[in-house]
């Protein structure tokens, strides 16, 4: 029997939603100030309107629901799922008013892509976009990558934070409390921000020969998009704009750092490095990276696209790393990526589908789930092959020795299967619109795994239903299904419950 949510349930959800929206309003002030400093008066109006809407709705929710209970799992998941729908909606206001988007749906598409750290874009004339709007696009990556709700946890005390934490697809607490873990996540981000922007800025200044203001600008934008595995870039030709192996190398380091779990960051900073090589997740991600890299390079060699090993290695390895970390930077145009058929296509698609580590900003199935699934299958096979009374060791290493219970294996496999279904549904919609199978599948995996690489299907003129499909895929993929399913269940309970 479905139980209809009470007024207290709605009050608690509304109260926390109000808090989060107010926090995003504060973040929205940053590009507003940027617009003032850069004297970009036209975008300024859009930013003020956006901040106003965020603040007014947030304040109205707080005023309407001043009393609240402690969040339970249901409340937390609903808050997270709604936040990730509403923030891009209001956050798209400056985009829409900029004149660079053909429709509100297009503006929402890019805002959702930014927040979910996907990187697919339907913006038009990006190369003439105001710097403040470009900054907002990339700041959305940062907010989404680090987790808006995580930010709320850092600032707001209160019970029930665990549900919000897990709602944003974070699985491990690296410190005893969720709040201290959230603080650690933001501390890691800020440290990387300082070091990453400095490294990229110096590379742009010294190697690329840009003016210092522009070096800093490019450094900041590429940091946000690289460390948060987003994939937006300030210029239309993505990382190919820079024509520099050095710049790509620095960006690659940030991409890898972004795709690492915060548990690994913690181990690297505060000891525990020795345990990393034996971790199931570390082993899985290294194995999948090597396997997909081999596939991609072998495929490119077979296609004969590059005439020399150096070119094949640099271009192949960078696109593959971008795919596997879920970043979506590219040094080649979508039309060229579309020619990567056969093994190269297979390597790239598998890398995107698998994604990075759990509790990172990368999307996809995630290495830990892949590792657990493979381990579980292996254990079952060993169980059958070994003598009747033999006992199979069902433990695995993930910073400490843990037990691979049937429930854990089932949960990992379920989410993996949901991702496969998500990829196939998106591909099906693409095929229905006449997109060739390979491209439809590639684009769908890219959207569902929050990658952002494109074979040219994603463009301003693509059908509205396909845009809506990719938006839904980005939302579902980023939140790893559960929060969205709880929201759907909550709505059904509100309508049909007793």
């Amino acid at each position: 029997m479905l139980i209809r949510p009470t007024a207290d349930d709605f009050g608690t959800i509304g109260h926390y939603l109000g808090r989060v929206l107010l926090l995003v309003a504060v973040f929205g002030l940053v590009p507003t100030v940027w617009a003032v400093l850069a004297r970009e008066w036209h975008p300024l109006g859009g930013f003020l309107a956006m901040v106003g809407v965020f603040a007014l709705i947030g304040a109205a929710f707080l005023r309407s629901f001043p009393d609240h209970e402690t969040l339970d799992w249901r409340h937390g998941m609903v808050v997270v799922a709604v936040t990730w729908l509403v923030v891009p909606l209001i956050g798209s206001i400056p985009f829409l008013l900029s004149g660079h988007f053909g429709s509100p749906l297009d503006a929402y598409f890019d805002a959702m892509s930014g927040l979910t750290t996907t990187g697919l874009a339907v913006i038009q004339d990006l190369d003439h976009l105001a710097s403040s709007l470009n900054f907002w696009r990339h700041l959305l990556h940062f907010l989404g990558g680090q987790g808006i709700v995580i930010a709320a946890l850092v600032l707001f005390a209160g019970g029930g934070s665990l549900t919000l934490y897990y709602g944003e697809a974070r699985e491990d607490r690296v410190l005893p409390s969720v709040r201290s873990t959230a603080r650690f996540i933001w501390a890691v981000a800020v440290l990387h921000l300082v070091v990453g922007v400095a490294a990229l800025g110096i590379a742009a200044l010294v190697v690329l020969g840009f003016e210092w203001e522009r070096s800093l600008f490019h450094g900041l934008m590429i940091f946000f998009a690289g460390f948060d595995t987003g994939g937006f870039t300030p210029q239309s030709t993505s990382l190919g704009y820079y024509h520099s192996a050095w710049f790509e190398f620095v960006a690659s380091v940030l991409m890898v750092a972004g795709a690492m779990s915060f548990g690994v960051h913690f181990a690297l900073w505060w000891g525990g490095r020795k345990r990393l090589p034996v971790n199931l997740e570390t082993r899985t991600v290294i194995a999948s990276l090597l396997a997909t890299l081999t596939l991609t390079l072998a495929g490119l060699a077979a296609l004969g696209i590059y005439s020399d090993v150096a070119g094949l290695s640099r271009q192949g390895a960078f696109q593959l790393l971008s795919a596997h970390t879920g970043t979506g930077f590219s040094t080649i145009p979508p039309s060229e990526l579309a020619r990567w058929g056969g093994l190269a296509f297979g390597g790239m698609a598998i890398a995107m589908a698998l994604g990075g580590m759990a509790s990172s900003t990368a999307g996809g199935v995630k290495a830990l789930r892949v590792g657990l699934t493979l381990r579980s299958v292996g254990d079952e096979v060993r169980d059958i092959l070994l003598p009747h009374r033999s006992v199979v060791d069902r433990s695995y290493m993930q910073f400490s020795r843990r037990w691979l219970t049937p429930e854990l294996a089932k949960a990992a496999m379920t989410v993996a299967l949901l991702y496969v279904a998500l990829y196939l549904i998106g591909a099906g919609v693409g095929i229905a619109y006449g997109v060739p199978l390979e491209r439809a599948l590639f684009e769908s995996v890219s959207a569902g795994a929050s990658v952002g690489l494109s074979m040219g299907v994603t463009e301003p003129a693509m059908p509205a239903l396909l845009k809506l499909t990719y938006i839904a895929q980005m939302w579902l993929g980023r939140l790893e299904f559960i929060a969205v399913f709880v929201l759907i269940g909550f709505i059904v309970s509100a309508v049909r419950g007793r």
Partner: protein, 181 residues
């Protein structure tokens, strides 16, 4: 002595190619459409081509004597979005490099409120250049400015500014009421 001779011949060759490119048949309007050109880039590898477009983004003057930038040939090259409000799809651009000397005196590259110089560049199409680990770009040997760069006017929208201020004021009032409770 021999190296100096080769260098002289190279400079002479570049000068001749540059002269032909700047004043020869390609400069008389026979430029290629970049989108069509990039649709089958492998067919044009190593060709000397003439392209017309707007210089965009940054001028990266590198220590090796080359300046890198991007050449866009799209709807906005002819009709800047700020002036026309016309949306013509995504940008179409390609990286170009040229000797520092060719880039001297160019107006600022295109960007927000800035229309970059529209130029005709003539150069060799380097497709998956082995010397640059597979990069694709135009190695420019001649450049002619067709239309100088200029500032584009774009002012504030009083309606959105006003709406924003009203909304923020409204939020402050509501929040003040909440805090008082």
């Amino acid at each position: 002595m021999r190296a100096t001779g080769i260098l002289r011949i190279s400079v002479l060759l570049v000068a001749v190619v540059g002269w032909i490119a700047a004043f020869g048949p390609t400069a008389a309007g026979q430029t290629r459409d970049l989108a069509e050109f990039l649709a089958a880039p492998e067919d044009h590898a190593g060709e000397t081509v003439a392209l017309e477009g707007e210089l965009i983004g940054d001028y990266g003057f590198r220590r090796n004597g080359f300046m890198w930038t991007q050449l866009n040939d799209d709807a906005y090259t002819r009709r800047p979005l700020v002036e026309s409000g016309f949306l013509g799809g995504s940008n179409v651009g390609i990286g170009i490099r040229m000797p520092h000397a060719l880039a001297a005196g160019l107006d600022p590259p295109g960007g927000y409120r800035q229309r970059g110089p529209v130029v005709v560049v003539t150069g060799v199409f380097r497709y998956h250049d082995p010397d640059r680990q597979g990069e694709t770009y135009i190695d420019v040997v001649a450049l002619r400015v067709v239309e100088p760069g200029r500032r584009l006017a774009e002012g504030p929208n009083p309606i959105t500014l006003g709406v924003g201020v009203v909304l923020i004021t409204g939020a402050a009032v509501v929040l003040w009421g909440y805090r008082r409770r």
